[in-house]
Symmetry: C2
């Protein structure tokens, strides 16, 4: 009996700026059921409000406490522990991290900072790490496709800083258990009663299974044939799309 | 019986822009003996001619075929194999790599590029790696001290690109055997008849010992007490400075 459904966003709800066929109706059906719904994403080039507005513009209804983003999880992580930070992030996230900024930070937070990944910003992050700050990574993805080109994601820069300062990063965001735990803390059920639906077999599905959730991979978005066989844990279901995934669980 | 001596430069011959006490005389004494002398350095913010001029200005005499730099070794590596490259290097090295430049390069060469380590240059290097170029690294150092601050060296950026493109780098420069082999090919003796003198226990001494040379660590430059115990191979000698190191080998 599923009591909570966690939905990945890009590649599950929409693709190339438009809702995936059937996704709007499937989410509406889900939201009429007595099931907690959470939207969960690693994106770090948009602030949480920007993500919500984008979804609302496409016709999805996102409640005020239904959206969990990796940057938002890092803010919660810093807040819970009373940590200050130096944030090497996209300008869209500056406002989010402003309350935590310090010139003697407890942590260096690294997300997909885009053009801010330059020698000057990376040296500053490195110097804080050498002065005892810990390294917090928003995701660990290698690259993504933008305007037809492959471009570097946050992962390579996190590896660079980790090697330079000889510090292991705390990775917050999917597939980390920390991230799933934060989302699970907001729903009134056990991990085994929660279902993650995503198009990334590692970040979405393997991460969820490792945390004790159920998981369903969908064949939309970035899915590539054979992805389901790359999951390192048993119990993964694979369905055509979000609509079929929900139906497979009786929703 | 030593027939060739390889001298590291910074920290062995000079420090903070000035010859180390006794180093000028020791090199002169060495150069009067029937021993091949080679100056070997990983520096990649200066071209080989700039390194030679700096040494000559301080009073050292550097013959035309006595200087081996890591960037020079990469040029030889590319030339021997007929490889083209995209070079992410300091502007001082542009002229050196100009003859090898190509828009469909066989290799991406990464050295300490300083301010050129930005998102645009790193993406370009990454895209060439994804298009089948190999990754050649000039050294793998984590960081160095500049104007009183620790700043990132080439190593972290090489790790970033290696992780992003999932390609192991070919590291040319000390401590790689490739580098020592190139230097040894220029001297008329076996590895066991050659001696490396340096202030870096790993890059200079362990690398030399692994290639079959003899090695002597000096307690000048970046040497820290206890460094000699970090050498992973037996046979390392440790002396106060260059003068004492040479005398220990009867020179």
């Amino acid at each position: 009996m599923i009591k909570a459904v966690l939905l990945d966003i890009a590649g599950v709800l929409y693709d190339s700026g438009k809702p995936i066929a059937g996704a709007l109706e499937a989410v509406q059906r889900l939201q009429r059921r007595p099931v907690a719904v959470r939207f969960v994403t690693n994106t770090s080039r948009q602030s949480p409000p920007q993500v919500a507005i984008q979804l609302e513009t496409m016709g999805f209804s996102v409640g005020p406490k239904q959206l969990f983003t990796a940057p938002g999880a890092v803010v919660a992580y810093l807040g819970d522990r009373g940590l200050s930070c130096y944030s090497l992030v996209h300008p869209n996230l500056d406002e989010l991290f402003r309350p935590f900024q310090s010139t003697s930070p407890d942590a260096v937070v690294v997300a997909d900072a885009g053009d801010r990944f330059d020698y000057s910003h990376l040296n500053k992050a490195f110097q804080y790490l050498m002065q005892d700050a810990s390294l917090i990574a928003i995701g660990d993805n290698r690259y993504f496709r933008k305007d037809g080109e492959l471009v570097l994601d946050a992962g390579p820069f996190i590896h660079a800083l980790s090697y330079a300062a000889q510090k292991e990063p705390v990775v917050i965001g999917k597939p980390s258990e920390t991230f799933f735990d934060i989302v699970l803390n907001s729903v009134p059920c056990s991990p085994a009663e929660a279902l993650m639906i995503g198009d990334d077999v590692i970040a979405d599905c393997e991460g969820a299974l490792r945390t004790g959730l159920q998981a369903c991979l969908v064949r939309t978005g970035k899915y590539q044939p054979g992805d389901e066989s790359r999951c390192g844990l048993p119990g993964l279901l694979c369905e055509t799309n979000l609509d079929h995934a929900l139906k497979a669980f009786g929703i």
